[in-house]
Subunit: 466 residues, 4 copies
């Protein structure tokens, strides 16, 4: 009994219609929830570890045969350039492997007994169990890889999962769901739901859901958290402003191409995109100018073109917003060293801002666009203070040759991960990844997500023989 | 600028006034929050690990010299019988030790790099940092030990902590705070606030608080969670109904005294109190009768009397409630095998109910009083189903001699901890402890709390030499 | 400059010549050692983790295409029946996978600093490094799987390895070396040497070897250990007598086929073969008779025949020895319930002995042939005492339905692994596996071996900023 | 039936007789071995974890009351200056604490099952058990702390231990044994044996001994290893030459006092004493001269004098040896920048040698005396090569401000621990500590030793319900 509404998928680059998909109504969502919950409740439905391993190995094999196809789907609907989309697809395949391997690590440990007189005669161990039904609300910027992070983790951990892809990028998700089916993943374990936002909230806050995995804006994330049913845990992955501190002794030759990549990769639409670079005054302008020079050379355009380095923003409104923010920053004192203009309805020039005001939006909010701010500083402690001053704390970086400076800055920066001599957008899919404070909750990275999707069960044997 | 309001502490046993303490007003709470937050923000204030260790060793020594004094304070204000209060004090002392030792385990690990071509030339490690300001809202039933669980953990982990004791039992907390002071714990790191409920909510939801530790009713807990500031993590420890499954082959001689202790310890006012016992029909009535016999022999009375085994409930209203629930259960079909009456304004007889209806309140809600329900079952799977049927899942137990039955029941019961041949109220302060689903969030137990009060920081060195 | 000596490989079943291979002389061995040592000494030769992973994934893929071929080679040269050899091949493939996955686990951890005043201002981490050149001396009974355990582990851990297969079964090793080559494993990292025993000793004791992996007789193993160069670590995997304790309440229906399989698998030529079964007197003879009945039905014969369940012993001398031991046991009081005779030069009947004397060789030495001894006992403690009484302690088992009995027996038995309600020959290739006391040294199992083939390196940063 | 032989303990400083103690004969040693072995064999003798914890807490308390007494005993018999001996005593007390705390970590873990079809229906866990009787042969240079490392570890791990202190320093050990007795450690669990070398070998190689802990010369250590009974594991802690690499950018002000302390602490009689310092040629002579200046100021003399910084060598023969080696080095090209002479029969001047030949004994052997060699280098890789060139590899150090240089040198140096900007003699008693290659076997450090003194026991439950 569908409502006959549809989801239209447009190319972010030229706004052409790619595909139209049926939207689910409330009843269909209810059906999905019921299916998932019933699967979970009855342990006899659970899929054995070795079967999950076999199924995921098949998934990986099928994906390996579809790299080109998946790349194109992702690039077209999401706007990430072909070359980078291909890297994403390869990472997604590797992600399936990481999750498959982690199944063997979902283990418990002995809890010591007898450390006090009243705990003698006991032997205790923990195991780990799947947490229950997982609801995943995904984001557009890695249309395949995030789906892997938010579904394969759950399936591998033994949880039924219902995934809602970003409205802009459902096609990569759909293609992946079909791969799971082809591999033989039993019905109901990984369900895709195409729903509107009100139903998405209904899904997230349904009491049958034991775990919400959300990637997206902080506003939505924290609001959803406040509405969760009692007992539902969540992982929220929002954004940040990815501060970078560049000391006077940094190795510029290695650094600058890295910062340019880290700042303009996917037009800056990544939660750990290089956004704010604090450079020691002795080299600040030099660094800024050189970055501007390299940014100018970036090829902006059609994501399906193999030469393209920077594609469109996901929606016209985003270009509008970036345009507005940059103008505001300029008005408030920033110099535009390169870029600063929209190229088309969908594309914006890679832009370097010099010394924007700390109160300009580009300094205070996540830009999520192709704009990098460079600030000059006198004292490192001041740069650290500014880097920490917002409520977003995710990934950060420091460039220095000095071991003391590196260790001190790592200690002082408030971030989940700090790169020493590398840009902030570095990520390995198995490393701990997630925002602190306003930037999110829970620790991501495939193995970490899988552990969060399980819960500890302790068994304590009491016996006079122990 | 205090509001001159006071908190009156009454004996739960005879309702006499023990002490009157000043209540804090909004400004004083603000001062406490500011103090804690400022301490945390500036890393130069942080107390070094070896200093925290020394301070806590002093705390432990002072406590060891005050066992009698602390026992009496706790027994008088909380109503737990003297002997059991003394055990609580000794556990609290041991808890300080556990936390002290855990400081050395707040460590990170290497994160492998180079597993893919794009992650070569890197070396990565995690460390653990204090999460920030901790707010602890405590409960009355273990007035000293819970304070240790909710403050020493934070201090040991490097977090400033603000603790609000239960309104009924602030004196043990106060005595502990004085011990910390005597030991030399620097000002501001562990602050007690005596505040009314609206301010308690203000404390819990203040954005400077990074971690809320709440022990208390599920209603309050989940409500607080929904109001937390973005970025605030929480641990909620609510209650449960502690199901026990007794198979026909159980060793009754060992079991029955354990179940009586586990059911009537502290008049059942413990979140893992034995409440619902499912016994195979072949022995059910025999077990029930024998338990009733032993329950009748329990000495109920003044908690300060060393002979007392069961003391008062914390408030008259609770006795009223229990009285009402038992009457309702009887009306709905339960047989009262022993007890079933209030003894005084404050005390209620240890009560065993035979086969109450599954829809009676005593079957569906946490009783938190001296009432144990015994149900007869035919098939173990049915008993498991009933044991799992509520939304509370905390600790559970199974009694059987059979290894297959034990393993199967452990697997099937939905609980964080399952005792095999022991009652549900077993707890070692270092073991994982906490409710699932509606029973709570986060994993407690001193070492686990300390880990939750820290967060991971990853550092990734990039170098061509790696 | 070879010595022109050759190694002749005969079928253990019919003694026909399968192949003749050139033996290496001293100079060739020296060359192999030099190659391996030079590779290790210069870190620039080391193969990166992601390259080792890729290479091993290729190895696995190639093996998956050669299951039939590898099965036949192994069955023909080793005498293990075709069906069991196929299982071995599949396990070997899985072993390559386990080792590949474990590469990501060869990681270090943070070592806490600052726990005392004199250790402040420091940050410390460990990593793991390959230990150096590994020499592996292998055994005949799993001609492919043991080679995987003794070479792939080393290669995966980053160590050059020189492997000497058992003289009786070099062909599976040779086939595997060719697969490594085909997969692209660089020259020198995994070298096979066909050498006589004196050169094998030279290899094991060469000072350039940092780790000896030995699987074989205890006599040779301990002797080699005493001759190792200073600094050479070793893992020795010898045999045992695999005691089993069967309580009166055991589930016989499940148990007996398991014990028959565990006792006669590969004609008992496995280091954890079921050899000594202690059965409670109330059911002992019944168990013995039923086992004898099932043992009589085993199909003994040509390992290449798919129907064969028990094949030949590896050499005629072994059949001679088993024949002698059984005769001796009979003379010393044992009853022969089935078997007790050689079938041919190479095959011996599956044999069950009833109550042999505790001083007969079949009770005191590892039989390594198709002979199982069953003893009747009155008291479990006495059975445990007898099970522990020899110097060999490897795997053991207990069959009982009672949870207390199970836990107590697990505690009391001196063994590395104790199966509860399963036979002693159970092994997962990732579980810890190895003998205690005279049965060996070091802990095997693929992940454990890999860890033993690495060593910890601690780095301690000192800085006033820490 | 003692042999009436005695052990005379002389002051290493003035050769005066401190005490005469009876030596044990063969029968007494046999009695000690029998006692220990019988305790171990019967699990009912084993001391429960909480009892071991209580006993060791008492030991610590008693030690805390005897710091002065223990300091004087150690300083007098061992010759380590009073101030440093006091530090040793405090470390020994802390060592007891570390071991006590580690008891709770001697735990096992879940081993995953069901990763393959043939391993389903199983649940597996490991625990850790005491390894058996431990024999500890100790060294003179930390007469109290090493005894703690070699006995308390064993006792805490649940093993009976027989300890032979160094012949030169039995009095600290004796005092410690008396403390254990006073604390109530049951008879037989920690036995001191005063025996001559032939009996020490008998002890080490007795088949009832399951673990040998040896600290001393590599010659004796490797020889003992080669004679161990089958099944006896060992930890050997020998010496090294503790190379240090000083880059041109090192912070000399911090470094030089550290190197002087690390080189002349206990007159260089420490297995990780700074011995060979490779300094970049641009600053080498400056570093050498400054070190010589500071070394000259060290106060050499009576270890009982609180002002003394460097005491005697343990025996006159050692002074003779050092004298000879320095003369030889001078003859072979070294310059003596300070020291170079014996002060008395027992004391030798702190000595700095400039550029000794790489083939002089001071460059090739462990000096174990107050002599430090400084070498000038052009290229760091060459310094690394020389630092790695001997067969001893224990602790090492690098001084540099550069993060790349630090990481690269840490990777390239062959050592168990590498200090970055700290001297080689740094040690925390809980960190991993031990020689590689010729420098020893096994990993020390109190928690590591305790783990080595236990062994894994795996239990695998099989059940159709799993």
């Amino acid at each position: 009994m569908s409502n006959n509404k549809t989801l239209k998928v447009y190319s972010p680059y030229d706004n052409s219609l790619i595909k139209e998909l049926p939207l689910m109504d409330k009843n269909e969502l209810e059906e999905a929830l019921k299916t998932a919950y019933d699967l979970f409740l009855d342990q006899s439905n659970w899929i054995l570890a070795h079967e999950r391993i076999s199924l995921l190995e098949k998934v990986r094999k099928i994906m390996e045969g579809k790299v080109e196809e998946l790349t194109k789907i992702a690039a077209e609907e999401g706007g990430k350039p072909y070359q980078d989309s291909k890297v994403e697809v390869l990472r997604a395949i590797n992600g399936v492997k990481i999750a498959t391997e982690e199944i063997a690590r979902l283990t418990g440990e002995q809890i010591p007994m007898g450390l006090t007189a009243s705990t003698t005669n006991r032997l205790a161990f923990t195991t780990r169990e799947p947490i229950g039904v997982v609801a995943s609300l995904s984001a557009f910027n890695h249309p395949l890889n995030l789906i892997v992070h938010q579904t394969v983790t759950a399936f591998a951990a033994g949880c039924p999962v219902i995934v809602k892809p970003a409205s802009a990028t459902p096609l990569s998700c759909k293609a992946f769901i079909e791969i799971l089916k082809e591999a033989g993943v039993p019905k109901g374990w990984v369900q895709m739901v195409l729903i509107e936002n009100d139903l998405a909230e209904k899904l997230a806050t349904d009491k049958r859901v034991n775990y919400l995995s959300f990637i997206g804006s902080e506003k939505v994330g924290w609001s959803l958290k406040s509405k969760l049913a009692p007992g539902t845990r969540c992982a929220l992955e929002h954004g940040g402003t990815a501060p970078v501190i560049v000391e006077a002794d940094a190795d510029l030759e290695d650094m600058i191409p890295g910062l340019v990549k880290g700042g303009f990769y996917h037009a800056g639409q990544v939660c750990v995109s290089v956004q704010k670079i604090f450079v020691h005054e002795s080299i600040a302008r030099k660094v800024a100018d050189e970055m501007a020079k390299q940014a100018k050379d970036l090829k902006v355009g059609d994501p399906l073109d193999e030469e393209t380095e920077v594609g469109p923003l996901i929606r016209t409104e985003e270009v509008d917003r970036v345009e507005k923010w940059v103008k505001e920053a300029e008005k408030e004192g920033a110099d535009i060293l390169c870029g600063g203009k929209r190229i088309s309805q969908s594309c914006y020039e890679p832009t370097i801002l010099w010394n924007p005001d700390q109160n300009s939006k580009v300094s205070k909010e996540e830009i999520f666009g192709p704009v990098v701010c460079i600030y000059s500083y006198k004292e490192r402690q001041e740069a650290v203070r500014l880097a920490n001053s917002l409520e977003y704390h995710f990934q950060a970086a420091v460039f220095t040759k000095n071991v003391d400076t590196a260790l001190d800055t790592v200690q002082k920066l408030n971030a989940t991960a700090i790169m020493v001599n590398d840009h902030t957008a570095f990520r390995a899919d198995w490393m701990p990844f997630g925002g602190r404070d306003a930037s999110g909750e829970g620790l991501g990275g495939i193995p970490y997500s899988m552990h969060e999707m399980t819960r500890v069960k302790l068994m304590v044997f009491k016996s006079k023989f122990l």
